[in-house]
Amino acid sequence: MTTASLPPADLPGLDPDWSQVVSAPDAAGVQRQWHVLDAAPPEPLGTVLCVHGNPTWSYTFRSVISELSDTWRVIAPDHLGMGFSERTERFHTLADRIDELSALTDALDIQGPVLVVAHDWGGPISLGWAERHHDLVSGIVLLNTAVSQSDDTHVPALISAARNGRLLRTVTQRTRAFLDGTLRLAHPGLPRDVADAYRAPYRSASQRQSIADFVADIPLENDHPSRTTLDTVADGLTALRDVPTLLIWGPRDPVFADRYLRDLQRRMPHAQTHRFEGAGHLVVEDAPVAATVRHFADDLAAGRTRELRAQPALLPTTSAERRTLWAALENRADDNAAAVVEMGRRGPARTITWKQLSSTVGDVSAGLTAIGVGPQDRVALLVPPGADLTAVLYATWRAGAVPVIADAGLGLPGLRRALRGADVQHVIGIARGLSAAKAMGLQGTYISVGGFAPGLRRALGVDYTVVELAQIGRQLPTSSTPPVTAEAAVLFTSGATGPAKGVVYRHAQLEAQRDIVRDTFGIRADDRLVAAFAPFALFGPALGIASVVPNMDVTKPGTLTSRALADAVAAIDASLVFAAPAALRNIVRTASTLDQAQRARCERVRLLLSAGAPVSRETLRAASHVLGGCAAHTPYGMTEALPVADVTLEELEVGGRGNGVLVGRPVSGVQVAISPLDPAGGATEPLTDSPDVTGEICVRGPHVKDHYDQLWATQRDSARDHGWHRTGDIGHLDVDGRLWVEGRVAHIITTPAGVVTPVGPEQRLERLDPVRLAAVVGVGPAGRQVVVAVVEAPLQPEGVASIELVDSLRLAAGIDFAAALVVDALPVDIRHNSKIDRLQVSAMAAEVLAGRGSGP
């Protein structure tokens, strides 16, 4: 094959009608034959120009062509010497390839607007092209690519092996090592027929010459002939800052590691980013890239691409009435009363006064600024809840930096993915936290909480201790106050469904959250808080009230005993208790161990708040009883918006039964609307606040998240209704304006007779004596599912439920279950031990009911 040819007609996913051969001159002016995929509707919105890298070919864009060619003309050429284009004797440099692509697009008579989509070394080529065709270009999408190879970054092993002078031709051309090595980077592995399709134009060594040339053309050295061209392309990006750009990234890429993404983000600060966690170099094979490009193209066509974040209108524009998160620390800077108390086994182990906290936060924040922790720098906080975390958190805020907080429950791999993805630049931690950070390969300044022995300090690479920062900062002026619109935190979701998502808040949103918490629960200046629930353990100083952390493992709520609670209440004469349901259950379980005096102390509490997971009425009632019958509330919300609604124990006692879990009325300042479900189970209908309409719960308020971090597509989807956040929960409002939660959007069951939501029927099943826990799931293709009940029924054998049990389940739920299965244990989330993984249950039920498996 020397001239261009057509691919075999049977390559998976490739329509032979897309292929054509086009003639255009190469960089030396010689006419060459190109193989080009070209598909278009009669009246295209514009042109999508897809530029592949090495060692792939236009085949890599087949899904993009399928997805977009109904509305756009999509063109994907094979570079000369690559794919099914002509093999030339010429060594094509980067500069040649930019010239050649320009000659080709001239020959193809492409019409603007042009959306450029490029992968790998197609990036520099297409960006060079875009800089020359600025007037045509309306958008850019880059997939795992780079425009610079600075000397101080190490060269990936795959590339350095390939670039080794003696090995170059062996690795890249004489053998298929480089080709096959690249194809093995897919996650999961490519189907054999797809991998074979990638290999189709590269069967012989002579066909692979340009693969070798491409590798040889990577300007690793300063004096490399293509270095100047690459630098010109990189510098030219400043001129493209008016072009909407999306960076789509597969982080599991040994070649284009995260630092190349950071480099692109620095050079293109206007770019949006979507990281597909778990995807790698061949991100287009690993993740729904085509659909994402489609959304971006749709937005381009509709003229909306810039801001998919919270509407600025929702953020306060003036700071006249602003009350910062640390305002109380300034107001009480001379107050010797306790601000934060940490309980030990025998009473208060540590008491920090307002004065101490205020000066520590001031000094440490100034120290942070002094050592170069800049405004908007991201700082991972790997410190357990307590006085130390409180101090460094407020110091980080005060310094204008952005704390990144992820739950240790994510596990090391999850934590690593989260913190690396969030582009953390500094780490503050206890020894265990810093050692984990080191294991995760986090770069940047390491700051320790507490002093370590010199050996440990060296081993962990500690740059400063917090005490040293305070000393540095003591003589310095306070850091400047971050604006209300500055980013204030990145909080990671639990990761119960897929990789944890980073949720970005701005100061205005956290300040609003604080105020909503204060107003919802009527918190007064003279209240004092037992903070047994991690997030709220940090909110005491912001609320301006003293807080006490009981003697417990705050990351394991079930470790809170009634005695530890009573001691904590006594320590600051607490009036409020914030705790998770697991903590409440243990308090109730251990209530009998309280003596008269402890009981009396507990009865001084005026408000109990259960948060973090759904709580049963029984638990709330019993816990309130231990606390002398105090008022009990449980708020509804999520990492992205908390609280959304609130319900009291009385309301639950009076009217807590219905189709779903009653979570109460929207709290003050927060709007709730429902996006009704279509028959396919999609929440696609316009928002409504009509009662008794089931759909996705949508929230709007000043404390709702700003955006998801580097998850452009996720953010776009969650914020697709102007100013609203889609929660992913389904539910309905009743005639009294109360909100009921019926499950998750992903757990909707779509039967031919209509949509079924799981929570209501599950609750009805769990009221039956033999049933301990129930999951109601769908089995079968979307829209044609049957409803199946899967229950924990301790006295029943595993397998298909007995006729008697099936009959009582059908009767109780009012649903014609196709089948009922009994299992020993339903899969529940590790953290709360209560949220059932219905997708897993559904998959298990489908397997069993297909008759293939060996039964539950």
């Binding site: 089995v779 298909v800 196709a818 297909a850």
Partner: protein, 322 residues
């Protein structure tokens, strides 16, 4: 309308004839033996082209139920009845100007061993259908659908596991085996399957006859639209008929192996009747097959009138006459 029903001795054939007769159609049934019923009957073998021709003569419509339904036997036996017999019906219909043909087919023509979950009426495929019965029925279905033209409207209906009082195919076998302690659940009976109560299947065939001009050339699976586990179905049949419930469970792989051995032994000894287990049956009772009924119900303008629960009550009432 004058309607010929072939296979008049089958339970479904009898109920269809009864329904047509009751509503005033002029019914003729054709079968080898003598069937109950007050309508005109013709004795004859579907393999006999002349007999079929004379039975069809004068009819406006044919409901073709006659088939060899056994799970054992050699290919010729199935081919001659299910394929050539159907060809005889087609030839006669053409010769005598019949305008409507309802061909009773089987979901097994498109069941190739994999679970069918919320399935449609996929195309019949003789090459992939399992066993002589399904293969011959697949060939027959293709034959009739290929015969559609302006003068002859044809619809193929696949009722799924029809049962009811008096049924010897499913109920009869279950009862017989349960009574002799030979009823076992394969893999715990967890496979989800569709069944059709007898009267509903008959209603659907009558609806197809009435709608055939609007749905000519189409294929429909008919069921109650209430899939259930095999365990539940067998248990309810046993309870309704008063025989011991199945308790033991054998893994499918074992059951399948037993089927092969028994089939061979049965034919080697030349015994009459049917072996207790065949591969086909093992597959039927251990693999999901249930269907999306919306299209069928919409196109035939039919819906099952008798729920499974009512069906089991009727079965119990018929089994224990008070």
């Amino acid at each position: 309308m004058r309607v010929l029903v072939t296979g008049g001795t089958s339970l479904l054939g009898r109920v269809v004839a009864q329904q047509l007769n009751d509503r005033g159609d002029e019914v003729v049934t054709m079968q080898r033996g003598v069937a109950a019923g007050s309508w005109k009957q013709v004795r004859g073998d579907i393999r006999d082209a002349a007999a079929v021709s004379s039975a069809v003569e004068g009819a406006d419509a044919v409901v073709h139920l006659a088939a060899r339904v056994s799970v054992v036997g050699d290919w010729d036996a199935f081919e001659s009845v299910n394929v050539s017999g159907t060809q005889n019906v087609l030839d006669a219909a053409r010769a005598h100007g019949v305008s409507r043909l309802v061909h009773v087919s089987s979901p097994s023509v498109a069941h190739f061993g994999e679970p069918l979950v919320g399935a449609d009426a996929d195309a019949a495929d003789p090459k992939r259908a399992h066993g002589h019965y399904a293969r011959s029925k697949a060939m027959a279905e293709r034959l009739v659908l290929g015969a559609v033209d302006d003068s002859l409207a044809v619809v193929a209906v696949r009722p799924h596991l029809v049962w009811g009082p008096g049924d010897t195919q499913l109920i009869g076998r279950v009862v017989e085996r349960a009574a002799s302690g030979r009823l076992v659940l394969i893999n715990g009976g967890t496979a989800l399957i569709d069944t059709t109560y007898l009267d509903n299947a008959a209603d659907a065939l009558v609806a197809a006859l009435d709608r055939v001009h609007d749905v000519s050339g189409e294929v429909f699976v008919v069921s109650n639209g209430e899939p259930r586990t095999v365990a539940e179905l067998l248990t309810r049949i046993c309870r309704a008929t008063g025989v011991p419930e199945p308790t033991r469970s054998v893994p499918r792989i074992v059951a399948s192996g037993v089927g092969v051995v028994v089939e061979r032994a049965w034919s080697a000894f030349g015994r009459d009747g049917e072996p207790p287990m065949t591969r086909f049956l093992a597959e039927q009772l251990s693999t999901a097959h249930w269907f999306d009924q919306r299209h069928t119900q919409e196109r035939l303008q039919w819906a099952p009138a008798v729920t499974l629960a009512e069906g089991f009550e009727r079965l119990a009432a018929a089994s224990h006459p008070s």
